[in-house]
Symmetry: D2
Subunit: 424 residues, 4 copies
């Protein structure tokens, strides 16, 4: 889904919006291929949700916010589903508690598929008619919401399969290609100054938290030409990075100790070599590829150890300006980070989400939307850190230069890595 399409989606004509709808909904179905009912049901930890839940919840969004209020005569699929598949929208009623999402062996996966079909039919009826700008915007939001859950679907299924001693592969393993070396580390300088950052209100879609566009002052800084690699991370491990508190934030070291971190999530050393769990099963760690599945705490400690720091999100956004929104995203089908090569700033988009030093806070002038949809982003603006650039699990077309992803600093199950910055 190219950025071009996104811009039209928000328009009043239903044609391209209907196409976008079909495309996004089909992409979710494609993800579910090959999963058993059980694969789609089990919740491997509180942070993760079952695949079935993702498939149903994004559908619930369209039924609850679009069809019920806007499609005359629409017949709801099931009252139970309304309760089961609400997520954090406290305003629209009770909901099934998050940590218990994995108890729902019923409805079965095929019933969830029937729910999708039912809602898709309703949506097509709606999309055949006149769609107001507001409604188009709401549907577009629903599509981006579904794309977000497509990435979570992948991170969550990886986490589930990683719990299984059989290490099942979500997608078949491929012959390992000749290893490609990452570009040598280099720094690109930026002058900063009084710049503008955040989403410009130009009719293109963005999440509310990406705006309003606003001024910030930046001192000169430099950004690394690529993300930190697995090979570099192994050096950090070998020099005692996980054994001494020197470079760690206080909360970070406490978490590292409490959870017994010794390496990125999913890594294990076998006969002297590091291996890791991937969406294509159990694989050797590629030293040239960007390190992945590290927390903000680890990223910060690494940066400090390397004599650098994490970028501020406005720095990252400034540096990314003008770069094509292309990279190793879920559209390449690789499903794991690839070595970043070539000149300039490589790999800004795709491969791994890059932790920034910025807490996820409201931009000056930010106001949450009214009503339940307003619960979308604002209420998470506490205790979480911003990540930028998308990953190998991000749907193509979903990323933007202004896109703000956010997770708590101790979380590691996302496709999260880092790119160094420094003052100059």
């Amino acid at each position: 889904m190219p950025q071009q399409a996104l811009s039209t989606r928000a328009g009043a004509q239903s044609g391209p919006l209907a196409e976008a709808f079909d495309e996004v909904r089909a992409a979710s179905m494609a993800l579910a291929e090959g999963l058993s009912d059980a694969d789609a049901t089990v919740q491997s930890m509180e942070d993760a949700s079952p695949a079935k839940w993702h498939l149903a919840h994004v559908t619930w969004f369209f039924e609850r916010f679009v069809l019920k209020p806007h499609l005359k005569g629409y017949d709801g699929f099931s009252d139970d589903f309304d309760y089961l598949f609400n997520s954090y929208y406290d305003a629209v009623g009770d909901r099934h508690p998050r940590p218990r999402r994995g108890m729902l062996t019923r409805p079965r996966l095929n019933e969830v598929m029937a729910y999708r079909t039912h809602v898709d039919a309703g949506m097509r009826t709606l999309l055949d008619g006149d769609i107001s700008d507001d409604l188009a915007a709401l549907i577009t939001l629903g599509l981006h919401h579904e794309e977000q859950h497509q990435e979570l679907f992948l991170t969550d299924i990886l986490h589930l399969f990683a719990q299984n001693p059989l290490k099942p592969a979500f997608r078949p393993s491929e012959p390992r290609l000749m290893q490609q070396p990452a570009s040598p580390l280099a720094w690109q300088r930026f002058e900063g100054g009084l710049i503008e950052t955040g989403h410009e209100d130009d009719g293109r879609f963005a999440f509310d938290c990406e705006g309003p566009r606003h001024k910030v002052w930046l001192e000169p800084f430099a950004l690394a030409n690529r993300a930190v690699t697995n090979g570099e991370w192994i050096a950090f491990i070998e020099e005692g990075g996980y054994e001494r508190p020197d470079h760690w934030l206080s909360d970070g070291w406490a978490t590292c100790q409490a959870e017994g971190w010794k390496a990125p999530l999913y890594w294990r050393k076998e006969k002297g070599e590091w291996w890791t769990m991937t969406l294509r099963g159990w694989q050797p760690v590629d030293p040239e590829a960007p390190v992945c599945h590290v927390s903000h705490y680890e990223a910060d400690a690494y940066a400090s150890w390397a004599g650098a720091r994490l970028p501020a999100e406005a720095e990252w956004e400034l540096a990314a300006r003008g770069h094509p929104l292309a990279g190793n995203d879920a559209g390449t089908g690789r499903l794991s980070p690839a070595p970043q090569t070539g000149g300039g700033l490589a790999g800004l988009f795709g491969d791994v989400w890059e932790w920034t030093r910025s807490a996820y806070s409201p931009y000056p002038g930010f106001r949450a939307a009214e009503g339940a949809v307003g619960e979308y982003n604002g209420k998470f603006m506490s205790g979480q850190m911003v990540l930028r650039g998308g990953s190998c699990a991000t749907p193509p077309g979903h990323i933007r230069g202004t896109y703000r992803n956010f997770f708590h600093p101790g979380k590691r199950w996302q496709f999260s890595g880092l790119r160094l910055a420094r003052d100059v």
Copy 2:
């Protein structure tokens, strides 16, 4: 499986043993009917195991302890399964941690079924040949082991379904029959004295913990003619049974407070009437049926409140002597406790496991068997309380007068109730 059959099982001829094998294995398959892959995979709490795990683990017993050592040329189904489906037999190798049994979406249910078929084939080959007495005894143990897991299969699937707001029924609900009144409470007196208790070593099968037969001295006592009913329990609730510590054991009251108990597990009051989750779905509580899903702590508090006490296990066993091993067990298909009517001691076998006041301890002279099979019972003789008599979920033929079931006193997900006793 009548007691008669059991006695022959331990014999050297393979015929009846092979029949018993087929019967027990088929009964497990019958339980799995109607379960989805997801139903069979999810673990609803640490105490419970997934249905798939039960089906595989009982099979693992035959492969690991019978086929591998005793069937020449037997080809193991899978090394992975050996690891995944070991339970508490520490002596035979590493095992998948119990609280993570629900992560195993793979192998799928149909692969577990293939495992069963493979092992069944091996067992039939073995059973066609000469079977030593020792081997026959081991196979018989495996069958009783599988029957134990058949009951756990039911208690665990009920617990899982009870977590689901949709309250799915394991078996279809049946038209509610005309309510049958329980017998009025009456007491039967026993003189006690120096008696013998425990399993007599007569060649019939019993678990090791049921013996050795030994002498105990009992003072005169009386036993209630039937189990405590739901109606009686409701009176206990209404008189503040769950609100005041007066009649509770200290650990019991602490648990009651910590877990917020207000009624038996699965009960909820809706519009002034108590309802409960059953294997046939969400049902009104029948005041005449025995109370079920209460912990030892609750049972003890009730008994104290009622001016009585729980029976010692030797008292129970003495009282049950000579009673036919018949009752509302899983063979009746009711799958919930039924009102206990008629004269004498009603409902000793079936309906609900009856908590005793006896800690699960080794009988005088008890010695665990050598080797891994010796882990069977002895190592659980700490912190658990004995229950007697079987339940509506106990396979027919599985119960004995000397049978000692045991659970920690705070557990409620078994079909556990109580029968009062008192000194006379």
Copy 3:
């Protein structure tokens, strides 16, 4: 306080009772010597209570149960104290939560001492008058209650001081005497049969749980001539006793793993030698002295490893019959277990409480007393194991052959060890 005195205490004449009162109360004061306000205030874990709390709570018993109902015109010391120093007597009103006992920096230690003085004065007035048999029995109970807390005072202060890296000594360290070797292990045989056990209702004091006297049948057994020594325990450690589950109860092994046990509580290896915390500070472990500060789980595992078992409490009581109630109790002032030497059964009383295999259950015919005092023992009859014989911290005169001490099987901060038994 010889047993003789105890028997007269329960009599109607106040003379000996008043003397006993003075003696016991003075013993508590002696314990408090040398403790700072802070030492007496801090609670080192939930299981332990501050010294100040012990001193106040035993006083509260006399105020609440004796003076307020029985001394006309008695003026309560403080309503606050009534709330603060109630322990588990739920029936007499709200109480300060146990885990928060260490928050009470006020009242100060000297105010608690004033409370003691006030209550002592009241008690002396009362004891000068006529005392009914019932009242004498109640006061006697209060004295034994205070003696129990004298032992807990010692175990709790040891636990507190053991948390302090400075390893302060409760009482001054003494020059280490020439090491005395323990008697070589030998077995004494008992024939068992139908015996009577438990406290005989002969007017002498005993706690309610020690009776009623009742018949039990015992098979022949043998008891070790002395407790297991530290040296023997070191062999257990060195042969992997804490590293393999083979000999452990299932709950025991889980606790051992969860708490990371590698040796008895308070032990640490320094330069190849085992040291331990004692009431006389940090000391080398004496290989000839009885092992101490082991849980029931460890004791059971050791016994199994040694090819023996723990004694049943009735066996222990039978064996101890006729032995003088003398030994290394708190009256010797040693305050740690001493090597057990000499012929016959050595060290039955004093040194270490000896874990039995018996769960703490009501004896046949046991009934808790009516009212709050009835909360004394009965409600703890769940999940705990019986210990016999007293320890080096037990007040002289407090122990009896029928005495049943009880703790949860995972607890280690009492002066608890073991003596082996076996079937013969």
Copy 4:
């Protein structure tokens, strides 16, 4: 201690520095007056430290960082103290674990006082000699460090006394003055623009995290003329502020639910009126005084409910520029927030720390100092929120316009309140 004095402290002449040293050290001693050994020893929760620990730890700073490296022939007081009273300086060696600070009944309070005397003597010797600029800066840091702990001493002793049902008063209660009404709420407008913020490197003392001075762009905003009052907070409570998630951050609502918040910390309703624990004991809540002991989560929810927001820290600092560093700080002796009256921005300094919307992050160009002292602030820059302006427990002279205090957003035991801001 006026700001003037602070500026001279950092100078090379020891005279004023010695005076400042004496003043600050004496202030700590004054705080300890009236505390018992026990009061000074107990740790009421992990976040808090015992008074004795505060008194020793600030002394340890001078011994460890000043005397040992810089006073020739200085004789350390005790190796044990070096271990016991290190706090978070991982670089200088092992330390006693924070949650176990309350186990240290030894050393006694008077030994800690002797430690203070010993170190004070050493410091005076040192201060009588030549002091390099660097050393003067280090000593000055030590004094500010001690002042920080003086405030924590008060917050922690309040927390301890609040756990005690006797509700002891740290300082005597005073006759309640005639209630003074707070100023009516009004807004003061600021234009913002490209401003400079943070500490100017002018030789005056500031903590490292207050700089470097740097440019930020601010949009126009308005700030409330005073802090939110208790009366306003009661309205929030009464309109269901703690009962509905509408205005809460997601993490905030989860915390509110998990901890059962219904009002600010220490509040309880008695006979329809709100009371609260204060350093002067149990007192009625004054509706005109600023609300205190609220978390960032509560402050944020209140601001949202009130249609406003919390100020950014740069906004607050801009608004406070030019205001005298005077207010109801610990120097007034009131020890609780007072109604804020008068024109302009009242109560910016003193009364309550004001939560901002700003995460505690490094300012652009920030670098932690080298060595152990570098652990001072930088490593806490994660997961915490900035508070500004000092409180009624802040030592006089300690506050600055650039001062950044920081706590995790769920903490409530500091003297923390809020002042509203809004976009204009």
